[in-house]
Structure formats: structure tokens, C-alpha cells
């Protein structure tokens, strides 16, 4: 039996003016699967991720989220996005809210949770990322790694069905990368569906169920990590790996 698809992408293209960033992407993500999206900078991997929750509107093609086509103009983007968590390279925490308020903001405003329930859940999530003692402080006083863990907790507070990570460790000092990757690893173990754009090859090899190698707006390899890192099929992937490993 085929596992249920969480995301299905059909012939997706994205153009900015005359620049083709995504060029006919066909791919899918099973439920509970962890996908690592890798590739040279400018290859379109972040754009692909941002298309999945429609922060970028595709120029053409379809994206299906479970049994719904979310690229259809009839779809309410706000409700779709409530089911997809997104973590950004530069965190984008709300600087004028406390850490806990960052976590409870969307559940209270969008899901109409009571303040008490939202705070209880928020505190539990902060505990999960090891930051329960930071609930009352403002994001400005946190380190980069702590900020990113809060950002992950904030996305989880909406209880999404899939989490998207856009280079979650690229803006961090090296000594803080591990604490963030550990949180993502724990998340993977819970069976959550994850798509992660990353430059951390060891992490991709260890955690991902599948690698998408993207170059010039196309998925050139869609394969399991062991195979990809041992013997990439395409010349471009070989060159890429030679450069960074």
C-alpha cells in the first residue's frame, strides 16, 4: 500500500520577472517523512520551500497538501498556513513580545485558544526546547541558538502537520548549531513530516529519509541519503559534494 502523501508538487514553476527560479518541479513528501533539500546557493531551494506554504506564489503548476490543491485560487491561505509551520534562517521572532507571548500569539489570535490554555501549551513547548526559564524575557536578550529554538517552538504551537525549515542554522555561530539541530532531530523522531533546506550535510545524512538535490531550478536527484552521499548519480551533484565535503 502506498503511504499517504503529505505534499505533492506537480510541474511547479516560479519566475521572477524573466528569471526562472523553479523549472518544472515534480516531487512529493510522504507523511512522516524527513526531506533534506540541498544544492548550491541560488539553485532555488529556498524558493521551493517558500512555495510550499505559498509565501511565494507559484507562476504555474500545482501543490497539493493532503487531498487539497492549495494553489487553487479558492483556497483560504490563512487556514492552510495554520497547518504548516515555518522556521526562517533569521528567526523573525516578534521583538516586542515576550518569548511566551511569541508562542501564544497565533494560537490565541488564529485558533481562538484561551490565554490560559495557550500559555500552558506554550510553557510545555518551551520546556521541550529547553528554554522554560526564558518565558518572560524578550527575544532581544537571547542568543541565536535560543532564538531559533523559540522560533521552532512558536511554529509548533500551532500544532502543524508539517514543518518547513529554511536554512535554520545558517545564521548561527558554529557552537550553537548543534542545539538547534538536536531539537529538529527530536522532532523527526516524533514522526512529524519535515522539509529542511540545509547546508549541514552530516545532519542531512543522519536525519533525512530522502535528499532532494536541486540545481538551476530542477530537482536533479531525489534519492536516499546513503546512496546520494556515497555515489551521486549526476555530475553536478558530484561537483557540489566535492566542493563542500
Amino acid at each position: 500500500m502506498k503511504p499517504n502523501k503529505a505534499i505533492e508538487i506537480k510541474n511547479l514553476t516560479k519566475k521572477f520577472k524573466h528569471l526562472t527560479v523553479l523549472d518544472g518541479i515534480d516531487a512529493s513528501i510522504d507523511q512522516g517523512e524527513v526531506i533534506a533539500i540541498i544544492g548550491p546557493s541560488g539553485s532555488g531551494k529556498s524558493t521551493l520551500l517558500r512555495c510550499i506554504n505559498l509565501l511565494e506564489m507559484p507562476t504555474s503548476g500545482e501543490i497539493w497538501f493532503k487531498e487539497n490543491e492549495i494553489t487553487s485560487p479558492k483556497v483560504n491561505l490563512t487556514t492552510v498556513r495554520q497547518k504548516m509551520g515555518m522556521v526562517f534562517q533569521h528567526f523573525h521572532l516578534f521583538p516586542h513580545m515576550t518569548v511566551l507571548a511569541n508562542l501564544t500569539f497565533a494560537p490565541i489570535k488564529a485558533k481562538k485558544l484561551s490565554k490560559e490554555d495557550a500559555e500552558e501549551k506554550g510553557l510545555a513547548l518551551l520546556k521541550r526546547v529547553g528554554l522554560e526559564d526564558k518565558a518572560k524575557v524578550y527575544p532581544g536578550s537571547l542568543s541565536g541558538g535560543q532564538k531559533q529554538r523559540v522560533a521552532i517552538a512558536r511554529a509548533l504551537a500551532m500544532e502543524p502537520e508539517i514543518m518547513l525549515f529554511d536554512e535554520p542554522t545558517s545564521a548561527l555561530d558554529p557552537e550553537m548549531v548543534k542545539e538547534v539541530l538536536d531539537v529538529i532531530k527530536d522532532l523527526a523522531k516524533t514522526g512529524m513530516t519535515l522539509a529542511i533546506v540545509t547546508h549541514e550535510m552530516n545532519f542531512a545524512r543522519e536525519v533525512a529519509d530522502r535528499i532532494w538535490f536541486i540545481d538551476k531550478g530542477k530537482i536533479v536527484e531525489d534519492t536516499d541519503p546513503a546512496e546520494f552521499f556515497k555515489q551521486p548519480k549526476t555530475e553536478r551533484a558530484k561537483q557540489f559534494l566535492d566542493k563542500i565535503l
Binding site: 490563512t78 498556513r81 526562517f88 497565533a106 488564529a110 524578550y138 512558536r154
Partner: protein, 220 residues
């Protein structure tokens, strides 16, 4: 030189009362300007083109003609056009509110544009709707950034409120002129009034600085 401040002494309570008129007038104009200015700002950043055109056109008209002219049109032409006998205070608040909203909307637009677009994306990715995002994420941060500029606008309004003396609102400057016409001296009432304006402006500036500092502390 013939300077004698004791001559205006009996009129000091009368002139001081002008402070409340001036402050009330400034406050009403500012509130009106803020509300209508916020509406204009939302039009300027909206995706609906006619709204943007309207707001930009509005701004260019009110910034491109003298405030005194706008005041005259509203005060003197309202009775002719609408058969409504508008009071000087109302005409003043209307003119100053409409005028300052043009400036305030420009200040606000700049403040909103200065907010990192990641804030907007973060809110969107959490699935909150546009108005919630504007109200709770973007505007509070923008407001903090533009607070000094808004205080400046308030100080400008306060000083320019002296213009409404020409249509008969008994604010500070008008009262100085009334005193002049009673005792036939100009220098002392004008200087006294000038000092009052200066003190009010200084107090506002200090309050603004304290407020700014407090808002910064809350984030440390």
C-alpha cells in the same frame, strides 16, 4: 526702551487660559490626524491601486498648498457650500486634522516600510490574518520607530495652531492680540505668549524622550 511687564499683569490669567484652548485644539487635531492618517497609510500600502492613487493624491494636495488657505476654505466656504455655519474651532480642527493626516500618513508609511519583511512573513506563516498581523505585529513596532517623528508633528501642530487666531479662536496668540488692543502695547504680551509656547514645547519634548526611553527598556 520702554518695556514694562507689569502692564500686562492684570491680563495674565486671561492669557494663561489660552493654554487650554491651544492644547485642546492641538490634541483634537492630532487625534483626528492620527485616525485619518492611519486610514490613509493603509490605503497607501494596500494592493488596490485606486486606493493608493487617492491617498497619494490627497497627500500631494494637502502638502502642496498653504495650511492657511486650507483653513480659509473650510471656514469661509463651508457656509456658502453647505449652508452650515461652522464654528471657528471646528473649522480649525478639521483643517489641521486633514492637513496633518497627510504628513502623518507619510511618517507611518516610512515606519511600516522600515519593519523587516520577515516579521510579516513570520506572522503569515503562522496563519494569522492580515488585520491581526497589522494590528499586533507590524503597527506596534512601526509606532515605536516613528514616535519621535510623531512628537515632532505634534510640536509643529501646536506651534501652527497660532494660525487659527486669524479666524477668531481664542487661543494663545489671539489672546495676546486682544490684550494688545486693550492696553496699546505689543511687545510684552507677545513675548509672554512666546515664553508659554516655548515652555509647552520643551515639556512635550522631554515627555517624548522619557517615553522613548521607557519603550526601549521594555525590550532589553
Amino acid at each position: 526702551m520702554n518695556i514694562d511687564f507689569s502692564r500686562i499683569e492684570p491680563y495674565i490669567p486671561f492669557m494663561l487660559e489660552g493654554i487650554w484652548v491651544t492644547l485642546l485644539f492641538t490634541l483634537l487635531s492630532l487625534i483626528f490626524g492620527l485616525i485619518w492618517g492611519t486610514c490613509l497609510t493603509l490605503m497607501k500600502i494596500s494592493t488596490i491601486k485606486p486606493l493608493r492613487w487617492f491617498a497619494d493624491f490627497y497627500t500631494s494636495i494637502f502638502r502642496g498648498t498653504p495650511l492657511l488657505l486650507q483653513l480659509f476654505i473650510i471656514y469661509f466656504s463651508t457656509p456658502q457650500l453647505l449652508q452650515y455655519d461652522i464654528s471657528p474651532l471646528m473649522a480649525g480642527v478639521l483643517a489641521f486634522g486633514l492637513n496633518s493626516s497627510a504628513y502623518i500618513s507619510e511618517i507611518m508609511r516610512a515606519g511600516i516600510n522600515a519593519i523587516d519583511k520577515g516579521q510579516r512573513e513570520a506572522a503569515m506563516s503562522l496563519g494569522v490574518n492580515y488585520s491581526t498581523m497589522m494590528l499586533f505585529v507590524i503597527l506596534p513596532q512601526a509606532f515605536k520607530n516613528i514616535l519621535p517623528a510623531l512628537v515632532n508633528e505634534m510640536i509643529t501642530l501646536l506651534k501652527e495652531s497660532s494660525l487659527v487666531s486669524v479666524i477668531g479662536v481664542q487661543e494663545l496668540l489671539r489672546r495676546a492680540n486682544i490684550v494688545t488692543s486693550q492696553i496699546y502695547v505689543t511687545f510684552e504680551p507677545l513675548i509672554f505668549t512666546g515664553i508659554i509656547y516655548y515652555v509647552i514645547v520643551m515639556i512635550l519634548a522631554i515627555l517624548a524622550r522619557l517615553l522613548e526611553r521607557r519603550m526601549r527598556v521594555s525590550e532589553a
